[in-house]
């Protein structure tokens, strides 16, 4: 059964009176896997911060049909202070924060077990006691993914999860997300439309306005008419986007 998780109606939002988003509409259902693309400063992060309740809308509505704590969130890595004195296991445990208040006196065995099992699932149990600053980019993203999954979210929001990671992990991550999409809806912000369009079901282009394309294939006409500044690769007489996984496949894989 498909369930509506949230709806955004005629939403405008931004900082200090500058509108980053204007009259945006979006509905997210439980089986969605939406790739959110768009230029830097186009409002992608503003959109998810509004969904997360970190920014109040200037006008319009943002209606959440699930509890806020049922959203898993993976922020951009550069928002994290990498020299903060905190261990991996504590970062993951912070994901289960409805028990955090007074947690010194709770028995947190269940929560700890959950954190341990997520670390094991990501194959990073060995670094559980390391400080966050000692990790590689890929390890760090895995840790933040574990944290986002601590509450068994119905909706997972990821902001540029492939920054600072190697290509290997990037592919692995997207496959994992595809698998997780069977249990939860996913919103994935990326600047890299070529890669994510292989994995996502639909694409939302955010550039002050939002256009939710019903498939993961975008044609040039759509892009130009929506003014989505994406990189278009064309060859032959018919213009079309080449949605490629790796550069070496450039001339072989494209969608018609």
């Amino acid at each position: 059964m498909k369930k509506k998780l949230l709806e955004i109606k005629d939403l405008s939002a931004g900082y200090d009176g500058n509108l980053a988003l204007e009259n945006v509409n979006l509905e997210v259902f439980s089986d969605d896997f939406i790739g959110i693309i768009g230029p830097n400063g186009g409002g992608k992060t503003t959109l998810i911060k509004t969904i997360l309740g970190l920014i109040k809308p200037i006008s319009g509505e943002m209606i959440l049909h699930i509890s806020k704590t049922n959203i898993g969130y993976l922020p951009q890595v550069n928002q994290i202070d990498k020299r903060f004195p905190i261990s991996v296991i504590d970062v993951v445990r912070s994901g289960k924060s409805d028990t955090a208040l007074f947690s010194s006196f709770h028995k947190n065995t269940k929560e700890k077990e959950k954190a341990e099992s997520l670390l094991a699932e990501m194959g990073i149990s060995a670094i559980r006691n390391k400080a966050i600053g000692e990790l590689s980019g890929g390890q760090m993203q895995r840790v933040f993914l574990c944290r986002a999954l601590m509450n068994n979210p119905e909706l997972l929001i990821l902001d540029e999860p492939s920054t600072y990671v190697d290509n290997n992990f990037e592919g692995e991550l997207y496959l994992k997300l595809k698998e997780m999409n069977e249990q939860m809806a996913i919103l994935l912000i990326s600047h890299d439309v070529g890669t994510i369009s292989f994995f996502v079901k639909t694409i939302a282009c955010v550039n002050r306005h939002l256009h939710h394309h019903p498939s993961n294939i975008i044609t040039e006409e759509q892009l130009t008419s929506y003014n989505c500044p994406l990189q278009i690769i064309t060859h032959g007489n018919i213009p079309h986007t080449v949605l490629k996984l790796h550069d070496e496949h450039e001339n072989h894989e494209h969608t018609h």
Binding site: D16, T69, F84, P85, S104, F105
Partner: protein, 268 residues
Amino acid sequence: MNILIELFSYDFFVNAFLASLLAAISCGIIGTYVVSRRIVFISGGITHASFGGIGMGYYLGINPLVGAGIFSVLSGMGIQLFSSKGKVREDSSIAIWWSLGMAIGIIFVYMTPGYAPNLMSYLFGSILTVSTGEIWLMLALALVIILFFTLFYRTILYISFDEDFARTSNLPVNLFNYLLMILISLTIVLNIRVVGIILILSLLTIPQATANVLTREFGRMMVYSVGFAFLASFIGLLISYFADIPSGATIIFTQVVIFGLVKLIKAF
């Protein structure tokens, strides 16, 4: 050893010893929070703003520490409010409170008739003149801080590490930011007598830097910081007593020496 035993028979020395222990507890814990959260500059602003209260205390003839307490809590709230509303850049806001407090203090001290006694002890600290009343206040503060950080350890850790994420998980972020700001302000005010306004940032940062050489875990960093702060305060106290040099400056010098030694040992 006999000299030490003899020293502890003096009330003023017992007080100084207790002051160094209690200062180590409050500054060790609060300083770890301050350093981890990178709000050293905010703490500097609060510290200097409190000078306005000291000047006011002299002028009105009340205990300067009461005035300092009012000014530091208000400036802490003010900085927090200004920056959370986002209308003033945070560093500019800090500088405004910092210099405004100093300016008010200087004006009040100037207007106070006659000589302002002990003014230097507020600026540079004077651990050997800490009174029994002040010891009781420092003890109360140390207990409150220990209790607060034990009860809410994880909440404080999570909010400090990633404030946005803590908000998404419904933690009372604003409430804790304000409560912790009040604790920072009170810690600063009650330790002014130990090392002075000008030097107090050292107690909030140097033991923590030393602890950070050995651990990168929030809780352990607090415990180690308390230890290093106490070690430096006590050694500094003894040196300043025997060499007859200012206690505040000696304590800080000792802290830096310990930091250097720990760094050196760690390197080998």
